[in-house]
Amino acid sequence: MQEAAFLILTALAAGSQHGYGIITDVKEISGDRVRLRAATLYTALDRLRADGLITVDREEVVDNRLRRYYRLTPNGSGLLAAEAARLRANADAALRRLNPAGGVI
């Protein structure tokens, strides 16, 4: 899974979000390291929807502009959990090899 997709799914794990909310949340989750641009976001959302990992939760109009909220599907939650576990296992392995004595780095 690409990092952008992982971060978008993570942003939606806590609840439904609209496009701009996902952008600001991803920025915060990544510690200001990943700044999604609108087109990148909507390309990723389009794919995630096509793969059945997210779905539209609701729509509203704010200041004459359409705002669409997205949420994770059960498939999306499952895939995010599996990916997070995989990343954690990899990170744990790397840390163990960096510090064979078992202490905290």
């Binding site: 496009g19 087109a39 909507y42 705002r67």
Partner: protein, 247 residues
Amino acid sequence: MSEASLERSYRRLLACYPPHFRAGQGDEMLGVLMASAGQDQRRPGLLDTLDVLRSAAGMRLRSLRSGPENRGWADGLAMFSVLAPLFLVLSSLLGLVWPLRVAHIVVGRHAGTPARLVVEQRFGWNWHQLLGMSGFRIALTGQVVVAALVLLGLRRLALLAIAGSVVYWLAARYWIPYPLQLLTTSIYLLEAAALTVSPGPRHGRHLVNWGHGVVLLLAAGAVQASTLWIHRHWSGAGQQVGEAKPA
């Protein structure tokens, strides 16, 4: 005022997306673009513009591959991606068995160009005798490899093989009679495009039938016959037909 002109600019950019995407998410994305813009921003930033153009190109490509509105084109390109390499192989094989064998390399004014001489002097390679094979046989082998990869449905490897064949042709200054040269170059270009944008040769393979094979054979025969005719009537002075000799 600046907000209105910024919105117009973004709308123009969004026009690059396929219609079905614009209809579904255009307004929503416009809202995000406007929300992400700076307070006094009057026109889209360079990085945002490039991001939209890249994303729109990707969506159009995907739409061409799988969009319901482009199913006819997608099927046609997928079939072309399978049939075109087979056509080239058939045409070359007919050139091998044709009584006057016109599909041989033409040694002319292009032999011994500086680029070729540098390669030969530096690496000691004679491109026309690579691996003990003549230029025509190497080109034919390239065509067979491309056709085999396409039949196996290996799209990326087929693209690599096409690139390799083109590099060989350019490096070896491998020339064949003009109609075949033009036809082969055009087919390789179209084949590369079809492999890139179509749903792929695996899809095309399921659409091809024996009737297409008969049409291919007839077309390859017609090409060889017309090449022979053109070569007899229009070939210029200074060109010889026959296998290339080492420079």
